[in-house]
């Protein structure tokens, strides 16, 4: 397809999604505020367990290497919500198209369907990234830790996030295929969201988890991103070391998109042979 046509496809996808996003501004704000509210629970729980905020900081430092449990929790919670909205955004979009009956129409257009999917992924990524940034800034400000967040180290940690995004979207393609295959995927999504939060160690260091669970959690790209962003910002420990963790993420950048695309393609072929992609 000519580059001009590709841009046209992206523009159309972006325009449609922009209309939807601005029509339901409340949901945009929800994904900014939810990680902040959710991170308040372990912050307040921690203060209650330790007795007061200063004891909480001391105790937390012994376990994690940092006394800044507020930024620790806000980063974890925000990245978890980023992971959820990025991963499920694509799958739920596919499901919505199935249910509204427009998936078949989209696949029948002269446009390469891959471009439409890519456009959806990119828009979803931009919105999720904006929500993540706002959640981090607003959350840190509310808890009085904005100064700790805004440092040069934040720029380095953004680089890590970029590395983690590509494998994550590869995973989202596989999950998208799973969603349109299983159809009633609400409970699966709920389970995987909680499982992700647990494996990512959004509120605690991975060293607290049993060895075999840690191996499972490292297979998920955002576990590495979450851990290493905190390592850079707060001087806690990396999974292995920064170069090794980056290498692992680069490896995932190749593996997960391949797996994701393969799963998605297989599901679509199976649906086209069977009940059709429009059946829900």
């Amino acid at each position: 397809m000519k580059p001009g046509k590709t841009v046209q496809v992206f523009k159309a996808v972006f325009k449609l999604n922009w209309h939807l996003t601005t029509r339901y501004k409340g949901w945009f704000l929800f994904f900014v505020l939810f990680p902040i509210i959710f991170s308040a629970v372990p912050i307040l729980l921690g203060r209650a367990v330790a007795g007061d905020p200063s004891k909480a900081a001391q105790s937390f430092q012994q376990y994690t290497g940092t006394s800044n449990y507020v930024v620790y929790m806000v980063v974890g919670s925000s990245l978890w919500v980023f992971a959820i909205s990025s991963m499920w955004g694509f799958g739920m979009w596919l499901r919505e198209q199935q249910m509204t009956g427009t998936l078949e129409q989209l696949l029948l257009t002269p446009v390469n369907p891959f471009l439409i999917l890519l456009g959806e992924e990119i828009f979803n990524l931009l919105i999720s990234t904006l929500q993540l940034s706002m959640a981090l800034l607003f959350g840190s400000w509310i808890f009085g830790a904005l100064g700790d967040l805004l440092s040069l180290r934040l720029a380095y940690s953004i680089g890590l996030l970029v590395l983690g995004i590509i494998p994550m979207y590869g995973l989202s393609m596989a999950l998208g295929g799973l969603i349109i295959r299983i159809k009633e995927a609400g409970s699966i999504i709920g389970i995987l969201q909680m499982l992700m939060g647990f494996l990512m160690g959004i509120f605690y260091p991975l060293t607290l988890l049993p060895g075999w669970v840690r191996i499972l959690s490292i297979l998920f790209p955002l576990t590495i991103v979450n851990n290493d962003v905190r390592a850079i910002l707060l001087s806690t420990g990396f999974i292995f070391s920064l170069p090794a963790d980056v290498l692992l993420l680069v490896l995932y950048m190749f593996i997960y998109p391949l797996i994701g695309f393969r799963v998605y393609e297989k599901v679509m072929i199976s649906l086209k042979k069977g009940e059709g992609v429009g059946g829900y």
Partner: protein, 268 residues
């Protein structure tokens, strides 16, 4: 109505089983989050707050979603007007949904208690019978909240789902369902004391752990009686079990009458 709701539930058993798995990982997340703060302590201090407060999150969610927002589901599926044309009492339909949710959440709550016990080794129920009595009173009060919310949902329309999501998590914080009230800053605690659900959570937790309540610290003098903090909180819970259902039911009926007059009952 309960039979119909259970039929829907049994049609999607994965949703029911999924709830247990979600609760398992959610509780694990919060329990593990407490570990870095418990250096030098035995076990996980604060487990009692999580154990005896977190179940209120399920019941509050039931009141908001199963009773309150269910009106919207009926609007969207186009069956609300049909329901109102039947000879059935409409408030019974909402009540049936609430009862169904409470019954379904009962095994989830028991599962929650088991998970906390298995992970922390902590289980204490100082006054289980009185605790169950307070829980039942709280559920009656929450049902009233559900009715009031159902009325509000008719006005909120499309924003109802979003508002419900935010509202339940705001209540989670302000009513200290997962942590003790002493963890809250004073400014938030002031607001907590104005919310009836806070007293349900605090009195229930106090009864089950045998500890003093946190919201009221001193005896309260009321109509010549010198009430201890726990008794005063129990009085509030009893009053809410009476006031909330009546007020909630009246608000719900008023909103329905308004929607019928405006012809907007089926509009969502």
């Amino acid at each position: 109505m309960i039979k119909k709701e259970f039929k829907i539930l049994t049609r999607y058993p994965l949703n029911f089983i999924g709830g247990f798995i979600q609760v398992f990982f959610l509780i694990l997340m919060f329990l593990y989050s407490m570990l870095p703060f418990s250096a030098g302590s035995e076990g996980i201090p604060g487990s009692e707050s999580l154990l005896w407060g977190s179940m209120f999150f399920f019941f509050v969610s039931d009141a908001l979603w199963a009773i309150g927002t269910s009106v919207r589901w009926e609007q969207v599926s186009g069956t609300l007007e049909q329901l109102y044309l039947t000879p059935s009492k409409q408030w019974l339909i909402l009540l049936a949904r609430g009862l169904r949710s409470y019954l379904i959440d009962l095994p989830l709550v028991l599962w929650l208690l088991l998970v906390v016990y298995l992970v922390t080794g902590y289980f204490e129920a100082a006054n289980p019978l009185l605790g169950i009595y307070i829980l039942v009173l709280s559920l009656i009060g929450l049902t009233g909240l559900g009715y009031a919310y159902a009325g509000a949902v008719l006005a909120l329309k499309r924003t109802a789902n979003l508002f419900t999501n935010m509202f339940q998590f705001i209540l989670l914080i302000f009513c200290a369902m997962f942590f003790p009230f002493r963890a809250l800053p004073k400014s938030i605690l002031t607001v907590s004391k104005l919310i009836p659900i806070s007293y349900m959570v605090d009195s229930f937790r106090s009864i089950m752990t045998g500890e003093s309540p946190e919201l009221i610290n001193a005896n309260i003098r009321l109509i010549g009686f010198n009430l201890k903090p726990l008794y005063f909180e129990l009085l509030i819970v009893h009053l809410m079990a009476l006031i909330l259902p009546i007020a909630g039911f009246k608000l719900y009926n008023w909103m329905i009458e308004k929607a019928l007059k405006e012809g907007t009952l089926g509009q969502y």
